[in-house]
Amino acid sequence: MTAVADWTSAVAVAPAAPARRRRAWRRLRRDPIALFAATILALFLLTAAFAPLIAPSADQGRGTAHVASRDLGPSAAHLFGTDHLGRDLVSRVVMGTRPALGSAVAVVLLAVLIGVPLGLAAGYVGGRIDEALSRLTDLFLSFPPLLLAMVIAALLGPSLTHAVFALAISWWPWYARLARSVAQSLRHAPFVDAARVFGVRTPTIIARHVLRNALTPILVQATVDAGTVILAVGSLSFLGLGSQPPLPDWGLMVSDGRTTVLTDWWIATFPGLAIFVVALGFNLLGDALRDVLDPRSGG
């Protein structure tokens, strides 16, 4: 294992006692930055859940054009203005929370579902399985993640689904590594030894005991990754390798607004702002979680 990997996997080893978790939760509740971030994310989640009701015009949000009202600046009728096809930008941004948050959750979930079981198994069992997994993760980790996603998305054909799939493929090795190092460090922990002595089967040990300890670092990583994924999906769509029109993808909207950024500045600014704020929320929350749950970080 390389020095670089050590850095990413440093984590407390003792089993998480319920008391410690309660204390952590209380600290989190009192941290103003964490509250701020959680509020922002909750707002966006709510918006995504009720998007068609919140958007002034859900149809325009979904992509229906309104040619008569093209390129209007922000006004009382259209708080964020309208775009090149006359669609109300508030509706577009609001409806855009769905692909944005949906894809972030999908990528992280997929990456966790693929990477964590593999990593846990490899780290706990060791031996040949561990070797094989290390080779595989090395292969994927030898690419800058976004480059791999770009190549896959381009070859499969640009679409949000392919972009999500491509990003999940690029992301799972990080979780595999994370899970692997947790499992490795717990292999000979006293409580695991005890479980073995009592005859608990290996899969159960992994699923019940080892996984519970891996949850914390995975949660922290997932939260921060969600922000990175939103940036990545937006970036892919900006290039033309992600969502295709008329999907209300924020990155796509920024790309649409690029030619008129000096005159119709609102078309590129507000969707980009949305990406920024959501990524900010995830990053801040991830930071707060790390501070609270990982006592070794310099918080």
């Binding site: 992509g63 054009a65 096809l85 640009p158 295709q244 029109p245 030619t259 005159t263």
Partner: protein
């Protein structure tokens, strides 16, 4: 130790600051652009080989090489390397008399032998070799006469004026490329045209400099040097133009044209082009195998909105797949008008009252216009109960998928097309809708024997009688209107931002898509 480190640090900081300040203080150098025309174009160079050339590099080729004659926008011809030409009554023998005193860029004189080998090379292995399909033999009775004999009557004047596959190249270069296929690729040329390649940075910049022995001479305020910055993004071209980096931007974003011209520094020149947009209906599958459904959809298309949004108004609704201004376009060719009520009635008659079916529409993701107006088609069809799912795919993939299996392919295919040389009868009408064993450009997969017969008849007649060909094609166009295997959206217009300081008469020509003739650009006195 501490002192030394501090001294080093101090020195580094001072030196860097001094350098930065000195560099910043330098005013931007104003170049001597008297003789230099600075252009931004999207045209990448896929090959410098004039025989193989069949893509965007035609912009440069048309300034380096010349054909025997040029097609004027009004249907007549202008002498190029041939000063006069004639043909036999049966249209199978064409005689060209070459211009005297013309030399290639390598100094060798233009001879009929050079013309013969150029045309034969193009016919054999050219990128657009198909235009010479009717070629029989070429003879050279003397140094300045070329006689072209064809297997069937053909309009060799039109073919020889093509921007692809009709360049005249010096024999030395032809011999060299026969030995080494990559001979031209580093940036070599050997034509008769006004410019020659001075330097080439792949994907970035082409510099052309004047050929001083050009037969047309260099009188007037023509530019002796042209630097073309290859800039695929229209917005970047605009940024370069407004910051004074370039004199001429060949593609600015259409949505900004009005603002750019309002300042008074530029005027806009709008010209027809031979490019048009067609939406092919997949006629192999229900429901689009029903002609009533296709007609209904043709009535549902919002033609005016598509032009307003897709082309920002710079377009005119198509009459069939023949672009306006290219033979055999005619104002009497019928066209559909948006009429949703009629569309609904036709759908009901077809057995689909209220619509209630879904269609998959594919378009080229990198084509900005299609990306803009495809949603309008989706919205319009939704009004008559037809659900459309849009798929933007990179053109190469869109096309590969469409050719692979018609039964499993898209329902509607949006295509931007233009004829290789200005005969949309043997090109558009044939390529786009003539039946074929394996689909190529006929992406409606339509097979109509009556139509095929008419188009074949038109092609055959064209070599002898333009009027007869026009009549046959008119009937074929009527069938296309009745059967609606595709919807004919709009003919694109060329929008050129002309700087006040330049005169650009003759720089653009509908028969030469993607070409700007730099020789025709002059600085206004």
């Amino acid at each position: 130790m501490r002192g030394r480190m501090h001294v080093i640090a101090l020195l580094t900081v001072t030196a860097t600051t001094a350098l930065a300040a000195a560099a910043w203080a330098q005013p931007a150098r104003k170049g001597d652009s008297q003789q230099l025309l600075r252009v931004a174009a999207t045209a990448a160079v896929t090959t410098w080989d004039p025989i193989k050339s069949f893509s965007t590099e035609v912009l440069y080729m048309a300034n380096i090489y010349e054909p025997l004659l040029y097609a004027n926008p009004n249907g007549t011809f202008r002498p190029g390397l041939a000063t006069s030409w004639s043909h036999s009554a049966d249209g199978k023998t064409w005689t060209f008399h070459l211009r005297k005193g013309v030399t290639f860029h390598d100094g060798e004189p233009l001879t009929s032998a050079a013309v013969k080998s150029s045309i034969e090379a193009a016919a054999k292995s050219g990128g657009a070799s198909f235009i010479w399909a009717a070629l029989g033999s070429i003879s050279t009775p003397d140094d300045s006469t070329v006689v072209v004999r064809t297997k069937s009557p053909a309009r060799v004047d039109l073919i020889a004026s093509s921007e692809d596959g009709a360049w005249i190249i010096c024999p030395q270069a032809l011999a060299a490329v026969a030995k080494d296929a990559n001979y031209f690729e580093s940036g070599k040329d050997c034509g008769t045209g006004p410019y020659t390649i001075k330097s080439y940075k792949a994907g970035s910049q082409v510099v052309l400099s004047a050929y001083d022995k050009y037969w047309g001479g260099w009188s007037g305020n023509r530019y002796q040097n042209v630097v073309v910055e290859i800039t695929p993004e229209a917005i970047v071209q605009q940024q370069r133009l407004t910051s004074g980096q370039i004199d001429l931007a060949l593609s600015v974003p259409l949505e900004n044209v009005k603002r750019l011209t309002s300042g008074g520094k530029y005027s806009v020149v709008v010209q027809p082009t031979s490019q048009n947009y067609t939406a092919f209906f997949n006629t192999t599958r229900p429901p689009l195998d029903n002609v009533l459904v296709r007609r209904a959809l043709s009535y549902a298309i919002p033609y005016a909105s598509i032009i307003k949004v897709g082309a920002y108004g710079y377009g005119s609704q198509s009459r069939g797949p023949v672009p306006r201004g290219i033979f055999p376009w005619s104002a009497s060719t019928p066209q559909y008008r948006e009429n949703l009520a009629l569309a609904r009635r036709l759908l009901a008659r077809a057995g689909h009252p209220g619509g209630h079916f879904s269609l998959k529409l594919t378009y080229a993701a990198e084509n900005q216009a299609e990306a803009r107006f495809a949603p309008l088609i989706k919205d319009a069809f939704a009004k008559i109960g037809v659900r459309v799912s849009l798929r933007g795919i990179l053109f190469n993939q869109q096309w590969a998928a469409a050719k692979a299996n018609p039964k499993k392919a898209q329902d509607i295919f949006l295509l931007l097309y233009w004829p290789t040389y200005s005969d949309a009868g043997s090109d558009n009408l044939y390529s786009l809708f003539h039946s074929s064993a394996k689909p190529f450009f006929n992406l409606s997969y339509w097979k109509n024997p009556a139509y095929d017969r008419l188009v074949d008849a038109g092609s055959a007649a064209f070599g002898v009688s333009q009027a007869k060909a026009q009549a046959a094609y008119a009937k074929a166009l009527k069938i296309l209107y009745d059967q609606a295997p595709g919807a004919f959206l709009y003919d694109a217009k060329l929008v050129l931002l002309q700087p006040k300081a330049l005169s650009m008469a003759g720089a653009a020509n509908i028969n030469y898509p993607f070409v700007t003739f730099f020789y025709a650009i002059q600085k206004k006195a």
